[in-house]
């Protein structure tokens, strides 16, 4: 495709990502016969987004889904669509791709009409063939030389109305699942490049530690090089096994200075409230007359510990350094930002660096993928590697302790009820480390090993975004209920003894847990049923509908057994995205057993219903695991929950049955589904535990110890 320079100003009315990358040929091409290759800047990590994007393209182009291939994402070729995060891929990339395909189709039909001397309106497309009412024309997407693809997007083309969809809107099987079930190479971890070497990094034994001496280590055969730079210590070998053994022995031999820099794990409240913080008002809606009507004020504090991504695969990356040219293979969610961060952090010429994506295991935010990419470059540039690619894989232990974590948080809520049981005022204060620690945020590369290199600077405390309730630790801190007098305040910690960044749903998990727990406490104070109390504070019909449907699914009014209880939780994700209501049923004996979850979700117009259900189910189970089990453990020097024994997650015998109903909203814009369940499920479980035990547990996780502590606190 010959690329024509885009006009200086994009056509008005185009989706944002298409306006930013307007040349149509950057989004799709017909160069392989019978195949449509679509390019997206969004990456697949098990959420099924490539299937949904392929469905959108197939629908708009009138081809069978099997004809659509999704191109691997690379900084060299793919449209820069930022990070694959925030449940925005369908919203952003879907809209851009749909419009690009609609315009490509329009251009092809115009060229075909000219060739045939026909009216474009009389032409259609059937599985890629150009047809008229009387049949085929002998022309197709593949025979016309891709007219229009070299051009920038023109005036918006009308996309196909959903009422005429035959590929989108249906539960197409995921395009990536057959490879994964068969065990065919598909993950970055499976990539075997010619001449590839294997690297490992020996991390310091503590969060704050300096390498004093490498010491004497007996290294196995096959070791190519030991790389040291400041406190960065790594090894490259001919095989993964040799690299692993060498790294372990180097770790045993190395001598470090260690400083105790971590807070007291058993008193995170003092840590969160005591550290210097930047305080900002996030939302303020004042109604002093309403506030004055409140006659009773309730106050409570809710907290969560640090949480780990705990991905099934350790982070992995490959780098190849050949003279000035650097190629990186990564499973990062943000290859474009990683490209900029690597270039800035290592002083590389950006045009000599290519970052290519390959799938990793499920990612739930900013994990160690980006850091592993830097590790790989640091090892691959060693002269002894002689330009061969070097694959770095982290150990399980490093994955659990050196990948960024989701911050511990404290939320203090206070609300005023009037004599009629209506909430008139609400205050919410949130203390947390920042959630926006991805590479490049705030102009800082923010890659782990940069701080360990000679002369490296410690990473600054993670940013948390603008002072709005849609992002960062204060995502969903503004209750979605109809309350006249509201103020929300954020306290972002300015120190970061434990490195934090984005983890699925950011602050929404704790904020919604807090708000929904507190709503039940307020309902009890008002003598109201929790579902009725919520509905009484919600005029928005879509919000009401998911709550009503979840309650109906769970048969809310039917009482459970003596030690069992039901609880409900609700939120509209970010306050602007998908709606979810969840009901949990728990049985509370010596341990809390979560039996069932019912979810009603409304994510607007749906591309792949089973994809939405899969995402909501997975979000629900992961949230349940956070609520019931998870807590990063540490002493004053280092993270100690470095294995699946010390960082347990829910197992098959412990996960609840999950039922998801997708509430139809065909006229509403598409939103993501991957994060809608996190907060509502947490609220539902907390409320179900309170219903079953008669005890309100406000500190996560809801383990036996925490429940006993709550009982003792009265």
């Amino acid at each position: 495709v010959t690329v024509v320079p885009p006009p200086s100003a994009p056509e008005p009315g185009l989706p944002g990502d298409l306006a930013a990358t307007p040349v149509l040929g950057r989004w799709l091409d017909f160069s392989a016969d019978g195949v449509v290759t679509v390019a997206t800047g969004k990456v697949e990590y098990g959420q099924g987004v490539w299937t949904a994007l392929a469905q959108i393209a197939a629908e708009e182009l009138d081809v069978r889904l099997a004809r659509v291939r999704v191109a691997p994402v690379s900084t060299a070729t793919s449209p820069d669509e930022g990070t694959t995060s925030g449940s925005k891929s369908i919203e952003d990339s879907g809209a851009a791709l749909r419009q690009a395909c609609a315009q490509a189709r329009r251009a092809v039909l115009a060229a075909a009409a000219e060739r045939l001397g026909a009216d474009p309106a009389a032409l259609g497309v059937r599985d890629g063939e150009i047809v008229t009412a009387s049949g085929g024309t002998g022309l197709s997407y593949w025979s016309l030389g891709a007219p229009g693809l070299a051009m920038a997007a023109g005036p918006p083309a009308e996309a196909k109305p959903a009422g005429r969809w035959s590929v989108a809107g249906r539960s197409a099987p995921r395009i990536d699942i057959p490879d994964k079930v068969a065990g065919r190479p598909r993950f970055l971890h499976d990539l075997a490049l010619p001449g590839m070497l294997f690297g490992r990094v020996v991390r310091p034994p503590a969060a704050a530690a300096g390498l004093q001496a490498v010491g004497r280590a007996d290294l196995p055969a096959g070791v190519i090089d030991v790389v040291t730079d400041g406190s960065f210590l790594g090894v490259v070998a001919e095989t993964d096994a040799a690299a692993r053994v060498a790294a372990r022995r180097l770790g045993q031999a190395a001598r470090w200075t260690v400083r105790e820099s971590l807070p007291d794990e058993d008193d995170l409240r003092s840590f969160l409230l005591g550290e210097p913080a930047e305080t900002s008002v996030i939302a303020r809606r004042r109604d002093t007359a309403a506030a004055a009507r409140a006659t009773r004020t309730l106050t409570a504090e809710f907290s969560r510990p640090f949480l780990a991504h705990a991905s099934m695969a350790p982070s992995c990356a490959i780098a190849q350094v050949q003279d000035a040219a650097v190629t990186v293979w990564t499973h990062s969610q943000g290859i474009f930002a990683l490209h900029r961060a690597l270039a800035a952090g290592l002083g590389l010429e950006p045009r000599h660096l290519v970052v290519r994506h390959a799938e990793g295991a499920g990612a739930y935010g900013h994990n160690g993928a980006d850091d592993a990419a830097l590790d790989a470059v640091l090892l691959a540039r060693a002269p002894a590697c002689r330009g061969r690619p070097v694959r770095v894989m982290w150990s399980r232990e490093d994955e659990m302790s050196w990948a960024p974590l989701g911050s511990a948080m404290l939320a203090r809520l206070s609300a005023g009820l009037d004599p009629g049981g209506r909430i008139q005022s609400w205050r919410q204060d949130v203390w947390s480390n920042g959630f926006l620690g991805r590479p490049g945020t705030g102009g800082e590369p923010r890659l782990l090993a940069l701080a360990h290199l000679a002369g490296g600077q410690p990473m600054s405390a993670a940013p948390d975004g603008a002072a709005v309730p849609t992002i960062g630790s204060v995502r969903n801190s503004l209750p979605g209920y109809d309350i006249p007098d509201v103020e929300v305040t954020r306290h972002r910690l300015l120190t970061m003894p434990i490195r934090t960044s984005s983890l699925r749903s950011l602050g929404a998990f704790l904020n919604v847990f807090a708000i929904e727990s507190f709503m039940d406490e307020l309902a009890a104070a008002a003598g109201a049923d929790p579902v009725a109390f919520r509905l009484a504070h919600l005029a928005d019909p879509r919000s009401r509908r998911v709550i009503e449907q979840a309650a109906e699914m769970a048969e809310w009014s039917v009482r459970r057994g003596p030690d069992a209880g039901l609880g409900i939780g609700f939120a509209r994700y970010k306050g602007t995205s998908g709606y979810c209501a969840a009901v949990a049923e728990v049985e509370a004996g010596t341990e809390v057993r979560l039996r069932r979850l019912w979810l009603a979700v409304d994510v607007g117009r749906v591309i792949n219903p089973d994809g939405v259900i899969n995402q909501a189910e997975g979000g629900a189970v992961q949230s349940a695991s956070w609520v019931l089990r998870e807590r990063v453990r540490f002493d004053r020097a280092a993270i100690t929950s470095v294995s699946w024994d010390s960082y347990p997650i829910l197992r098959f015998t412990e996960v609840p049955d999950v039922a998801v109903r997708v509430v139809a909203a065909p006229g509403e814009p598409e939103t993501g589904a991957g994060e809608v369940a996190q907060g509502p499920v947490a609220g539902a479980i907390g409320n179900a535990v309170a219903a079953a035990l008669g005890v309100r547990v406000r500190d996560l996780p809801l383990t036996r110890d925490q429940i006993i502590r709550a009982i003792e606190a009265g």
């Binding site: 098990g46 699942i177 079930v181 971890h189 699946w644 098959f652």
Partner: protein, 170 residues
Amino acid sequence: VTEPPVTEPPVTEPAAQPVRLTVNGQAHEVRAGPELTLLDVLRGDLGLAGPRFGCGAGLCGACFVLLDGQPRPACELPAAAAAGRDVVTVEGLAPGDGLHPVQQAFIDEQAAQCGYCTTGLVISAVALLRACPAPTPAQVREALKPNLCRCGAHGRVVRAVLKAAAAEPE
């Protein structure tokens, strides 16, 4: 003050010993020192991508293979300890490029998100159905307890295993 790093000349390992393995019905001979795991051999020497590295401690199930018919972690088993035993990876469950009924059921039920744990789950499920062709949901969950899934596809996986059991009891 940091003293300069000291690197001594490395000491070479004792020579690796030849080990004979039977993997997916085929005999192989590899050279294995004491630190080499079965997973190293399967992925590194034999190029099998199905068994996956997850934790290196046998705690997550991603690397499970059938060892004499039993699901076992390959990540911590010395390769030499597998000598003379029958090793089956996910690639060897069905002849050629075909799929085992359990694998087909995983596709039918779309029983995965990221899919990194999937091959290990398939191994555990196949072993279960050989021992217990018509399991209850509780038996399926118990059999899959050694396998972790971080994405939350558990319900679909249990459904897939029950479907495979109903479709084609072994």
